[in-house]
C-alpha cells in the first residue's frame, strides 16, 4: 500500500517530463544529425585553401581610324601586357589570422581603370576591407570647347589628362557583437595636366595647366546593436588640399592671340603664371538610431553635422597686350592677388516611423530637414601696368538653403498578391545667394522659395508566382522652386514587369515617364522624357549549349524653355530633342568537342543610335573564344570594335579594333 501511495505521489512529478512519444519528432532525428553537423562544418577538411581565378594576356590596339583624342576620351584602352582580372579566396582551416581572405583585381597593366580589393574577416573579431582604384581621366573634345575652331585651330580649351587614385580602408572590430567599434580611412587624390583658358578682360588664352588635389577622410565610431535598439555614433574629419597652376613661357605664341585689331591694337599674351593654393579641413558628427520600439512600430532617426572650411591663396602674373573695355584702356602687365576663405556648416536630420496598426495595413511617416549656409569672404588686389591705381576689393558671399520635407505613406495589402500604396509629400524651403557689394549688372542678392505638394501612389501585384508587376507614380504641384529647370508641376510614372516563364526563360519590361512644366511667364518650361526597355534571358538546358541575354531600349526626350538672347534681349526658345535606341545582346555558345577540346564562344555587344539635337552613333561589338587547355587552364582570344560618330562633328568620330589573347587559370 505504501508503495502504491509512493507511486501515486511520484507519478505527477514524472508526468511533467514530456512523454517519449511526444518528443519523438525532435529526438529521433536528432540522433542522426551528428553526421549532418559534421557535414555542416564551416570549412570541410577537403576544401582547398586557395581558390579562384586569374586572367592575364596581351592586348593589341589597331591604329585609330579618326580622332585619337576622342578615342582616348571615350574608351582609352591600349596595347600591352595586361592583368585582365583576378579573384582569389584564401580560407584558413585553422582560422589563425583570418577565416577567409578575398582578393580581387582588374584592369592592371596600363588600362585606364585599375581596381584592387582586399577583404579579410575573422569571425567575431574583426572585418577588414580595402579598396583601391587607379583611374585615368582623359578628356579632349574640341566640339566641347573650341572657340578657335573658326580659325582652323582644333584645341579643346578644357581638356584634361589626369590620374585619380581612390582608396578606402576600414576596420571593424567585434562584428556581430552588440558593441562594434570601427575606424575608416579614405583617400582620394588626383594629379595631372591639361589645357585651361587664362581669362583676361576681353580675351581668353589657352594655356597649359597642372592640377592636383588630395582629400583624406578619417572617421571612427561605435555601433550598439541591441535586440530592440540600435545606435551609431561617429566622429570624422577631412583634410583637403588643392593646387593648380597655369603658365605660359615668356615669348611663346599663344593660339588665342587676337590678331583682329581693336582700336588699332591686337591682343596677345606673352607670359603668364597663375597658381592656386587651397587648403581645407572639416569635422563632422553623425548619430543615428533605429528601434523596434513595439511589435507594431519601428522608429528611425539620424542627425548629421559637418563643417568644412577652406582657405585660399591665389597669385597671378601676366604680360602681353590686354584691353579693359570698361575704361577703354590697354595695358601690358597685370598682377592679381587673392586671399579668401569659406565655411559651410551643414546640418541634416531626419526622423521616421513605421506603424502597423492592422495586419494588412502599414503606415510610414518621415520628416527631413537639411540646412546649409556657406559664408565666404575674399580680399583681392589687382595691379595693372596701365598707370591706373591698384584696385583693392573686399567681397562677402553667402549661399544658404533650408530644405524641409515631410512624407506619409499608407500601404494596404488588399490580398496576399496585391498591395497598394498612397501617400503625400510636402516640401518647403528657402534659399538665398548673395555676393556683396553688388557689381555692374550682377545682382547682389537673390532669394527663392520652395513649396511643393506631391501625391504618391504605387501598386505591387503578383497575380502568379512567376509574374511581378510594379507601378509607382508621383504627381506634384509647386508654388515656387529654386531654378527655372527644377521639378515644378510634374508627373512621374514608373512601371515594371518581370516574368519567369520557365526555369530557363525570363523576361522583363521597364517603363519610365517624366513630364515637367513650369508655366511661369518668362520660363515656360516644358520637359518630357520617356524610356521603355525590354530584356530577355534564355538559358535552355541550364545553359549547356546556348545562353542568350538581350535588351532593347527606346528613349525620347524633349525640352523647351524660354530665354532672352543675351545681346539683343529678343525672346527665344531653347529646344533640345533626343530619340535614342539602345540594344545589347550576348550569346554564350558551347561549340561541342573538336577533338580533345571543347571550345566556347561568347559574342554580342551593344549599339547606341540617337537622333535629334546631337545625332550620335556608338557601336561596341565583341567576340571571345574560350579553349580549355589543361585541367585548370583555358586560353582565350578576344576581339572588340569601338566605333563612334557624330553627325555635326565628323572630325571627332573614330573606329578601333582591339584584340587580346590570354590565359585563365582557375583553381
Amino acid at each position: 500500500m505504501r508503495s502504491l501511495l509512493a507511486a501515486v505521489l511520484f507519478l505527477p512529478l514524472a508526468a511533467q517530463t514530456p512523454p517519449a512519444a511526444a518528443s519523438a519528432p525532435t529526438s529521433a532525428p536528432a540522433a542522426t544529425p551528428a553526421t549532418a553537423a559534421q557535414a555542416a562544418t564551416p570549412v570541410p577538411a577537403a576544401e582547398p585553401d586557395i581558390s579562384g581565378w586569374i586572367e592575364f594576356g596581351y592586348r593589341w590596339r589597331s591604329d585609330v581610324n579618326g580622332s585619337l583624342d576622342t578615342y582616348r576620351s571615350v574608351v582609352n584602352l591600349g596595347s600591352g601586357p595586361k592583368l585582365f582580372g583576378a579573384d582569389v579566396t584564401v580560407i584558413d582551416p585553422k582560422k589563425r589570422l583570418f577565416d577567409a581572405l578575398h582578393v580581387r583585381a582588374s584592369g592592371w597593366g596600363g588600362d585606364p581603370y585599375g581596381t584592387l580589393h582586399v577583404d579579410a574577416e575573422k569571425s567575431k573579431l574583426y572585418r577588414f576591407d580595402a579598396d583601391y582604384r587607379d583611374l585615368t581621366y582623359f578628356n579632349d573634345l574640341p566640339s566641347y570647347a573650341d572657340p578657335l575652331l573658326t580659325r582652323g585651330i582644333i584645341l579643346d580649351e578644357q581638356s584634361f589628362d589626369t590620374r585619380r587614385h581612390v582608396g578606402g580602408y576600414s576596420l571593424e572590430l567585434l562584428p556581430g557583437n552588440w558593441f562594434v567599434p570601427y575606424v575608416t580611412y579614405d583617400r582620394d587624390g588626383n594629379a595631372g595636366t591639361g589645357v585651361m583658358a587664362f581669362t583676361q578682360n576681353s580675351n581668353e588664352y589657352a594655356v597649359p595647366t597642372t592640377l592636383n588635389d588630395l582629400t583624406n577622410l578619417y572617421r571612427g565610431g561605435v555601433r550598439f546593436e541591441l535586440r530592440r535598439f540600435h545606435a551609431t555614433i561617429e566622429e570624422g574629419g577631412t583634410t583637403f588640399s588643392s593646387g593648380q597652376s597655369l603658365y605660359q613661357s615668356p615669348g611663346a605664341v599663344n593660339p588665342g592671340n587676337l590678331n583682329t585689331p581693336i582700336f588699332g591694337q591686337t591682343l596677345d599674351l606673352t607670359s603668364a603664371a597663375a597658381s592656386y593654393g587651397i587648403s581645407g579641413s572639416s569635422t563632422y558628427t553623425k548619430a543615428l538610431f533605429s528601434s523596434n520600439a513595439f511589435s507594431w512600430m519601428d522608429i528611425y532617426g539620424q542627425f548629421l553635422f559637418s563643417q568644412p572650411s577652406s582657405n585660399v591663396h591665389y597669385e597671378e602674373n601676366a604680360t602681353g597686350n590686354f584691353y579693359l573695355p570698361s575704361e577703354i584702356v590697354f595695358y601690358q602687365s597685370e598682377q592679381y592677388l587673392v586671399s579668401a576663405a569659406a565655411k559651410l556648416p551643414h546640418t541634416t536630420a531626419n526622423f521616421g516611423a513605421e506603424i502597423r496598426p492592422l495586419k494588412r495595413v502599414r503606415m510610414t511617416e518621415s520628416w527631413l530637414t537639411d540646412r546649409m549656409h556657406d559664408a565666404g569672404n575674399s580680399s583681392s588686389l589687382q595691379t595693372t601696368g596701365s598707370g591706373t591705381p591698384a584696385t583693392a576689393l573686399l567681397l562677402a558671399s553667402s549661399l544658404a538653403s533650408n530644405y524641409n520635407q515631410t512624407e506619409t505613406n499608407l500601404y494596404f495589402e488588399v490580398t496576399d498578391h496585391l498591395t497598394v500604396r498612397g501617400g503625400y509629400r510636402y516640401v518647403w524651403g528657402d534659399a538665398s545667394d548673395a555676393v556683396l557689394p553688388q557689381a555692374g549688372e550682377l545682382t547682389g542678392s537673390e532669394q527663392a522659395k520652395l513649396r511643393q505638394n506631391v501625391g504618391l501612389g504605387g501598386i505591387v501585384y503578383r497575380p502568379i508566382q512567376k509574374l511581378l508587376l510594379t507601378a509607382e507614380t508621383e504627381v506634384a504641384s509647386s508654388g515656387g522652386v529654386y531654378f527655372n529647370t527644377s521639378l515644378y508641376d510634374y508627373q512621374k510614372v514608373r512601371m515594371q514587369a518581370r516574368y519567369q516563364a520557365t526555369a530557363s526563360l525570363s523576361a522583363a519590361l521597364d517603363f519610365t515617364y517624366l513630364n515637367n512644366e513650369n508655366p511661369t511667364p518668362g520660363i515656360n518650361y516644358n520637359f518630357r522624357s520617356q524610356q521603355e526597355a525590354a530584356s530577355i534571358f534564355w538559358s535552355p538546358q541550364n545553359g549547356k549549349m546556348i545562353t542568350f541575354q538581350g535588351s532593347y531600349s527606346w528613349s525620347s526626350l524633349r525640352s523647351d524653355i524660354f530665354y532672352l538672347v543675351p545681346e539683343t534681349l529678343a525672346q527665344a526658345t531653347s529646344n533640345y530633342t533626343e530619340d535614342a535606341h539602345t540594344a545589347t545582346a550576348l550569346f554564350n555558345l558551347n561549340l561541342g568537342h573538336w577533338g580533345i577540346v571543347a571550345p566556347k564562344l561568347t559574342a554580342g555587344g551593344s549599339v547606341f543610335i540617337s537622333n535629334g539635337t546631337r545625332p550620335t552613333r556608338y557601336y561596341q561589338p565583341m567576340a571571345k573564344l574560350w579553349v580549355p587547355m589543361l585541367k585548370h587552364t583555358q586560353a582565350f582570344a578576344e576581339w572588340w570594335f569601338y566605333g563612334y560618330g557624330e553627325a555635326f562633328y565628323p572630325f571627332e568620330g573614330f573606329g578601333t579594333h582591339l584584340a587580346s589573347i590570354g590565359l585563365r587559370y582557375t583553381r
Binding site: 557535414a39 583611374l135 540600435h230 528611425y300 529647370t485 522583363a508 521597364d510 521603355e532 526597355a533
Partner: protein, 305 residues
C-alpha cells in the same frame, strides 16, 4: 454504507493527479526541430549555410532565442515538417509577399545602421524584398549578397533596365568597364538623399567621394551644385553629350537658368547674368571656356578663375 475499494480509489486518484499535472505543468512538445535536424535532409543548404554569417545565429543568438534554430528563425517552427517531410508543413519565405519577407528579415535586422534611411527609399516603397538582392543560404560560390563589381551591376540591371541602357551611351561613368558599381553612388537600403544617393563625410554628396576637387566650400559657390546636386547639369548614368551633360552645347544648358530675365520676375535664382555676349561667336558658345570654375570658384565671383 458502501465500502471503499482503496486500491481502485488510489488508482483513480493517481490518474486524476497525473492528468492535472500534465495539463498544468508539462510543456507542449517543442514545435522547433533545430538546425541539425534540418541539415539531415537539406545537406547542401546546410553546408553552404554554415559558411555564411547567418550561421552565427546557431551558436550565438541567444538574445533572440534562435540559438540552434537558425533555419527556423526564418522558416518558422519545423518539427512538424521534420516529421512529415511535407513542404506544406513549413513556411517557405520564397513564396511569401515582399512585406512578409521583409518582416522576417527585419525581425533581426531592423536595428542596424543600414535601415535608417529605409522608409524614404523607393525600394521599400515598391516592396522590393530583402531577398531580391540577398541570398539567405548561399550555395556554390554565392554569398549573402554579391560583392563583386560586375555582379552588383548585373543584379541591379535585372530590374533597372532603362538605367542599364543609359550606360551604353558613349559618355558614361565606367560601370560597364568594371571600374565602379551601382552601390558606389547609391545606397540600396535607402538614404536621406534623393535617388538613394550615398553620402560622403556625413551629409555631403556622395559624388565627392571621387570628385574631391569639386568639394569646396567655395567663397563663390554656384547655387545649383549645392541645392540640387550634380544631376542639375549632368546625366550621371550616361549621355550622348560630352562630360555627360544634359545638353550638347554648354550655352544651351546655361541659358536655361541664366535666361536674362528681369530680377524677381520668375522668383528663381540666377536669371540675371550680364547680357552682352554675342552667342553667334564661337568664343561665347561654350560658357565654360571663360567661366571655367563652374562648380564654384575660390577667387572670382563670376566663376572665371
Amino acid at each position: 454504507m458502501r465500502s471503499i475499494n482503496l486500491p481502485r480509489s488510489c488508482f483513480l486518484l493517481l490518474a486524476l493527479l497525473t492528468a492535472v499535472a500534465r495539463g498544468q505543468d508539462a510543456p507542449p512538445p517543442s514545435p522547433y526541430a533545430g538546425s541539425e535536424v534540418c541539415g539531415t535532409c537539406h545537406t547542401d543548404i546546410a553546408t553552404a549555410f554554415a559558411k555564411t554569417a547567418h550561421h552565427l545565429a546557431d551558436g550565438k543568438d541567444r538574445k533572440r532565442g534562435f540559438d540552434g534554430k537558425a533555419c527556423e528563425s526564418c522558416h518558422g517552427p519545423g518539427a512538424k515538417h521534420a516529421g512529415s517531410a511535407d513542404p506544406a508543413d513549413i513556411r517557405n519565405p520564397g513564396k511569401l509577399g515582399a512585406a512578409a519577407i521583409d518582416k522576417i528579415c527585419l525581425a533581426c535586422h531592423v536595428n542596424q545602421p543600414t535601415q535608417t534611411g529605409r522608409l524614404q527609399s523607393s525600394h521599400a516603397k515598391d516592396l522590393v524584398a530583402c531577398t531580391t538582392c540577398h541570398t539567405i543560404h548561399a550555395t556554390g560560390t554565392e554569398v549573402l549578397v554579391v560583392r563583386k563589381t560586375e555582379a552588383i551591376n548585373k543584379q541591379c540591371e535585372g530590374c533597372h533596365l532603362t538605367v542599364a541602357a543609359q550606360f551604353q551611351q558613349p559618355f558614361h561613368h565606367k560601370l560597364p568597364e568594371g571600374a565602379m558599381s551601382c552601390v558606389d553612388c547609391h545606397n540600396p537600403h535607402g538614404s536621406m538623399k534623393q535617388g538613394m544617393m550615398q553620402s560622403f563625410g556625413a551629409n555631403e554628396p556622395g559624388c565627392l567621394h571621387c570628385h574631391g576637387d569639386k568639394r569646396g566650400p567655395f567663397p563663390f559657390e554656384h547655387g545649383p551644385v549645392r541645392f540640387e546636386g550634380c544631376s542639375t547639369c549632368h546625366a550621371a548614368h550616361g549621355s550622348a553629350n560630352p562630360r555627360m551633360l544634359d545638353r550638347p552645347q554648354v550655352q544651351q544648358l546655361c541659358l536655361e537658368c541664366h535666361a536674362n530675365l528681369p530680377v524677381n520676375m520668375t522668383g528663381t535664382l540666377g536669371v540675371v547674368p550680364p547680357a552682352f555676349h554675342d552667342l553667334r561667336s564661337p568664343r561665347f558658345q561654350n560658357c565654360t571656356v571663360c567661366h571655367q570654375k563652374i562648380h564654384g570658384s575660390y577667387v572670382d565671383r563670376n566663376l572665371l578663375k
